[in-house]
Amino acid sequence: VAPSPLVLAPLTLPAQVTTPATCAALFQSYAPFVWRALRRLGIRERDCEDVLQEVFLTVHRQLPNFRGSSTTRTWIYGICLRKALDYRRLARISREIEDPSALDTSTEPTQEQALELRRTRAKLDAVLDALTDEQRAVFVLFEWEGLPMQEIASLVGVPVQTAYARLYAARKHVQAGLAGIETDGAPR
C-alpha cells in the first residue's frame, strides 16, 4: 500500500545548519503539517496560528543546537508536542468548552460542503479531546503524521510497548467516540 500523500516524508538536515534560508525551507516544508498536528493535538483553530509561530520560533532558536540525533521531522514534531501540551495546560483553555453546534451556520448554500467539513472536524476534535494527552500524542503522531512508533516513544519519553498500548487505547476510544457521534449526534 502506497503511503498516504498526507504523510510527510522524513527529512534529515545536516547538523549545524543555521542559515535563514534553512529556516525558511523548514517552514515551507513543515508548516502545513505542523499546523495539522497542532490542530489534532488540541490547539484550537483561532490559536493555532500563534502556536505555529511559537513552534517555528523555537525551531529557529534551537536549530543551531540540533545535533542530528533524530530526523528533523521528529525534532520538529517534538517541539509541536511540547507546545501543544503547554497550550492545553493553560487555565483558560481548560475552562473553555467549545460547542460544535455554536459554529456559524449563516454560510451560503454553495458553502454547505465546507460547513459540513468544519462540523466533522469539530466532532473529530471533540473525540480527540476525550483522549488523555499521552494517548492523543501517540495517536496523532502515528495516524496522521506517520512517525515511526520508535520515534514516538522517544518523543513522549516512554518505552515502545507503552507507546503501542497508548495507541491501541486511543484507537478504541476514537472508534467508540465516532460510533457515539453517529448514533447520538454528539461525541461521547
Partner: protein, 319 residues
Amino acid sequence: MNDEPKRWLDGGTDDPKLRAFMQIGGEELAPPEVLARVVLPAPPVSAAPAALEPHTGALVAFKWIAGLLLLAAASYFFLRSQATSHAAVVVPKPSHAAPAHRLAAPSALARAAPHEAPSVATSTTTDSLEPATPQSSQRTRASLATNSERPLPAKLRRPVQVEPAPAAASAPPASPADTVQARTAEAAPAATAEGSTATQSGSVSRPNIHASELQRAVGTEQKELQQLEAARRVLATDPTRALALMKRHAQDYPRSWLAEERDALVVRTYLALHDAAHAHAALAQFKQRYPESPQLRQLEAFKESMQASGHSKRGLESP
C-alpha cells in the same frame, strides 16, 4: 508487538466511515493565508557566537599567549640592553687603565728617556698622566703600582737623574754629556720604539722583555758616560789621572758609543801634558777615525793656540 500496525489512513481499518473521518482530519493543513502571515525572525544573534565560540576562545587564548610572548621578549631585550650598558661602564674599569697606560706610556717613555733633561723627565712623568681624569689617573697610578710594566719609566729615569749635576757643573756648550745625550737619543729609540710598539700592540709580556733589555743597555751606557765624565772632570787638575781613566775606558769599552769623545779628550789631555808627540799622533789618529767629526776643527785650533801660547795650560778646560 514490535511490528507496527497499519495506520488507519493506510488501510489499517475496514471501517470506511472511520477512514473518511481520518481523511478529513488529515486534510486540515495550514491555510496559505496563515502561512503568509507567519514571519520568521532574523537569525538569532546568539547563534553565530555560539557556533564560533570554540574559535573565539582559541583566538582569545592566542592573543593572550602572543601578548605574553611579546612582553617576555621586550623584557628580555630591555634587561639585555641594561646589562650591556652596565657592562660598558663597569667592564672597561680594569681595562681602562691599560688604554690610559698605553697612551701615557709612550709619552712617559719619550719624556723619561735618558736623552732628555732629568728635571724635565721628572716633572713630565706626572704630567704625562695629567690628560686623564682624576679617577682614571688614580686608577692609572694604582695600575702602575701593580703592573710590572709600569716601573719601567722610573727605572729609566733613575740614572738620568744622577747625571745632570756634573753636566751642570761644567756646562760646556758642546760637552761630551750633550753628545752623549744625543747618542743616547739615537740608541734608546730602538728599545723605546719597540717598547712603545709593543705597548700599543696591547701585549703584556713583550714590553717587559724590552724594558729589561732597555734597562740593561741604558745602564751600560750610563756607566760609560760616568767613567768618561770622571776623566773629563779631572782633566784640568790631574791630566795624568784623566789619561789613565780614558785608557781604562778604552780597555773596558773598546767599541763604546763615546769613543769619539774619548779620543778627542785624549788629544786634549796630551796637549795639556805638553806631550807634543803623543798629541800629534793622537790627533792624526783622530783625523783618520773621524774625518767628518765637528771636533776635529776645534782640536786643530786648540793645538795651534797651544803651540802659539808656548804650551800654556789655558784653554785646556774648554774645547
